[in-house]
Amino acid sequence: MDKKRPVNLDIGTIRLPITSYVSILHRVSGVILFFALAIFLWMLEGSLASEQSFNELGAMLANPICQFIIWGSLAALAYHAIAGIRHLIMDFGVGEDSFYAGRNSAWAAVVLSVVAIALLTWWIL
């Protein structure tokens, strides 16, 4: 392979379909979750260590900054799970036979994520 052939992967100059955005966000949310897992485990630890730490965690969750961090982590989780379940459905041969089916399921993932994150916001507040 000629190593000097031109490569254009300047994303800014390429018009991407919705499937690309869904895919990139899936990666971004996955990387966020890798670090957010520390927050989830820290909360699990606080909720299980003792009744006192359980109550302290409950009090901490009333703090708006804590709420925002947890909201962001759970929003990443909701999106990543929904976009991931889309792939699991495709594994069964559903909706992976054409670009249009992929585009429609990508939009469905976006819409479902917006609904899930809205419900999440309502649950936290």
Binding site: F34, L44, L48, A49, L88
Partner: protein, 122 residues
Amino acid sequence: MVTTVTSLGRSGLFDWMIQRISAWVMTAYLVFIVGYFFSNPNLNYAQWAELNSSLPMRMFSLITILSIAAHAWIGMWCVLTDYITVRLIGPKATAIRIFFQLGMIAISLLYVIWAIDILWGI
């Protein structure tokens, strides 16, 4: 040429399968925990500790954290091998990528140990 020495399954096919199996486990855990919180809106400590100290729940949580670690390892490996490349960031890319890959693997293993410590310390 990217080698697969730091990948979990040592081949794309194995990585793909581990990624799917772990995804199903995590989906099951997520559905369960969301359902549990939804049906127990005024959860207290005793109830929560009782659930998490029961053997079936400990096993479910353990399988889930192992799935998370494997899934994160494979996912982070894909991201690191895609973006920390010689073409994108220059000749030191391989050394930098190995550093981040080993760091990512270490963090994944620490998460597993931490989770076991939490679950068996109730």
